[in-house]
């Protein structure tokens, strides 16, 4: 189908070409709603309002199948069908329901059109597709300190959805004859499989990201959350990025070239928050994700990016010093990295983690392996015994039993 030759329905309400009227009527209905939305958000960008006023656009009707938007939706629907079958999707009704409720709290009536999928992936990411498919990666959930921070990210994603940035971007991309490049990144089959990620992460411009930030701030504050937590999300991410990018990582990270620099983003969000305060709801967040924390920590350790993981765990343990799972995870990273002084640091963490009432069974394994490494046969034997008593069918039980027989008396 021919494509509209303009960048965005928001900025170029030019007359429609024949054959596209139905689509543009649909687009302009959205423009009206988005115009009001833009004004409200624009005002908040100038001076933080006392009480965020915002008129959300009405629910988006399904686009005509023969429109470019309809084509995009169809692609996303296929991607969502694939995602539903994917073994990477976490099938936890309670956690998904918690996230869906949060979307409803932020997005009002649009929550009926948004479907949240939790994806097992240790990286920090969330995406929002124009058909209402929202993906939240487990690595993002692991990095949130409270519900307010999660609301900031989901509010940001809803901002993309409400302003229909994916559609803007698709038209902009096509208008610049860059479709080949767009597809060439993944191949045709790969494009279908990755479009959710592409639309959510690759395609948005810096301006769209900034607009989504501003709208997300309004949504989270309207729902009663502390807007300053949005700034902390980027502060925390900066801490990890500095590991690979140096102290000025936030100002020139090429991986985030389409995003505002995180350092600027943090400052702008803090300004938008306006010091009004609000809810954090940390206990509710902990209750929702607590059952998955250990598996996500193990996935983080398995990435093998030890310095980034340590930045994350150090921050987490400052906040939750008695979190046995996170203390085990940090000890495990030190044990595996084996840099100068690491084995001693590992011992501190693993002894403390294994002594906790909620000690993960893996803490005993790690402590035994560490003590064996340090030549402390007695301590290694005691830790291995505890590990095998708790997990006699462990996948590595044969190796651990061999280690036990090899330990000097």
């Amino acid at each position: 189908m021919p494509l509209p030759n303009h960048a965005s329905p928001m900025t170029s309400p030019a007359g429609p070409a024949p054959g596209r009227r139905g689509f543009l009527r649909s687009a302009c209905r959205h423009c009206l709603g988005l115009g009001a939305l833009g004004l409200g958000v624009g005002a908040s960008a100038q001076t933080p309002p006392e009480s965020p006023a915002l008129t959300l656009p009405g629910r988006f009707p399904p686009p005509a199948l023969d429109s470019d938007e309809g084509g995009l939706w169809a692609l996303m629907d296929r991607e969502e069908q694939r995602l539903r079958r994917s073994p990477f999707v976490l099938r936890d009704a309670a956690l998904t329901g918690y996230l869906q409720d949060l979307v409803c709290r932020l997005g009002g009536e649009h929550c009926a059109d948004v479907r949240v999928h939790v994806v097992s992936n240790p990286s920090f990411n969330a995406t929002m597709a124009p058909n209402g498919m929202m993906q939240v990666w487990s690595g993002l959930l692991l990095r949130m300190d409270n519900e307010a921070q999660l609301a900031a990210v989901l509010g940001h994603e809803l901002g993309h959805y409400l302003e229909r940035h994916s559609l803007e971007r698709l038209r902009d991309t096509r208008s610049r004859a860059a479709v080949a490049q767009f597809i060439g990144l993944f191949g045709v089959a790969g494009m279908v499989a990755n479009l959710g990620i592409t639309a959510g992460m690759f395609a948005f411009t810096r301006d769209q990201e900034s607009r989504a930030d501003r709208l997300g701030m309004v949504l989270m504050q309207r729902a009663g959350y502390d807007g300053a937590q949005a700034a902390l999300v980027w502060d925390n991410l900066l801490g990890e990025m500095r590991v690979t990018g140096g102290d000025d990582a936030g100002s020139r990270n090429p991986l985030l070239a389409t995003h505002p620099a995180p350092a600027n983003r943090r400052d702008e969000l803090m300004r938008l928050a306006g010091g009004r305060g609000g809810e954090l709801r940390a206990p509710a967040f902990e209750a929702a994700i607590g059952g998955h924390r250990l598996e996500w920590l193990l996935a983080e350790v398995r990435r093998g990016q030890y310095e980034q993981s340590l930045a994350l765990f150090n921050r987490g343990l400052t906040r939750l010093p008695d979190d046995a799972a996170m203390r085990f995870a940090r000890g495990e990273v030190y044990r595996l990295r084996e840099g100068p002084g690491d084995l001693e640091r590992a011992a501190d963490d693993l002894v403390r983690a294994s002594a906790a009432p909620q000690a993960p069974v893996q803490a005993f394994r790690a402590l035994g392996l560490l003590r064996r490494r340090q030549g402390d046969a007695q301590a290694a034997s005691a830790a291995f015994d505890q590990y095998l008593a708790r997990a006699p069918q462990a996948s590595d039980a044969a190796l651990i039993r061999t280690y036990l027989t090899q330990l000097p008396p």
Binding site: P87, G245, R302, D396
Partner: protein, 199 residues
């Protein structure tokens, strides 16, 4: 029958792609010399694939294409050497870590290198078996992994052997789709691992 036809088509496609990318494919069978440090005996024929410009510290073999079976063989990896080539870092960035062998690693640490290696692309990896084993005449470790491949959600199985001789690492890993391909290829790979000798 359908599976065979599909695998033949995939293999043909794979070979075509390799030719287009100028990768070198050599049919191998019988006694094979790996990186001049290890010899193995190959029962059925394999294809040894090497792509100019992207040399790796291991040899890569396949029968039906890397998506369907992937045998990797490391021989004589020195302390401080990575198990895979490191992607260049972006400007101003430090390169991401890759698994690096260090002399003196315990068997569990050796196996962990491969757990990290196969997790690197975002695939889900779980160690399903880890046990002492003799490999290249040394006491080493044998491991089995369950993998969900990130790019296409395909469940894979993997088996591997790793041992150290004189501060150098020797290893073989085999990865294939859990259904059909892995059970079919595993006996041959077990035989290859059992035949591995130092040169």
């Amino acid at each position: 029958m359908n599976t065979l036809r599909l695998s033949a088509l995939l293999a043909a496609g794979f070979l075509l792609a390799l030719l287009a990318g100028c990768a070198a494919v050599v049919k191998i069978e019988g006694e094979q010399n790996v990186k001049s440090r290890m010899s193995v005996r190959v029962g059925q024929a394999w294809n040894k694939v090497s792509a100019p410009g992207s040399e790796q510290p291991y040899e890569a073999w396949t029968q039906d294409g890397f998506n369907l079976d992937h045998l990797r063989l490391w021989a004589g990896v020195r302390s401080g050497q990575a198990l895979v080539g490191q992607a260049p870092a972006a400007a101003g960035q430090r390169a991401l870590r890759v698994p690096v062998f260090r002399a003196g690693m315990a068997p569990d640490q050796l196996a962990n290198l491969f757990e990290v290696l196969y997790s690197a692309d975002g695939s889900q990896v779980q160690v399903t078996r880890l046990e002492p084993a003799t490999f290249v005449g040394e006491q080493g470790v044998r491991f089995e992994l369950s993998i969900i491949r990130k790019r296409d959600d395909v469940p894979l199985s993997a088996v591997g052997w790793v041992a150290v001789r004189g501060d150098e690492l020797f290893a073989i890993t085999y990865v294939a789709p859990r259904l059909g391909f892995f059970p079919r290829g595993r006996p041959g790979v077990e035989a290859i691992a059992a035949s591995a000798r130092l040169r």
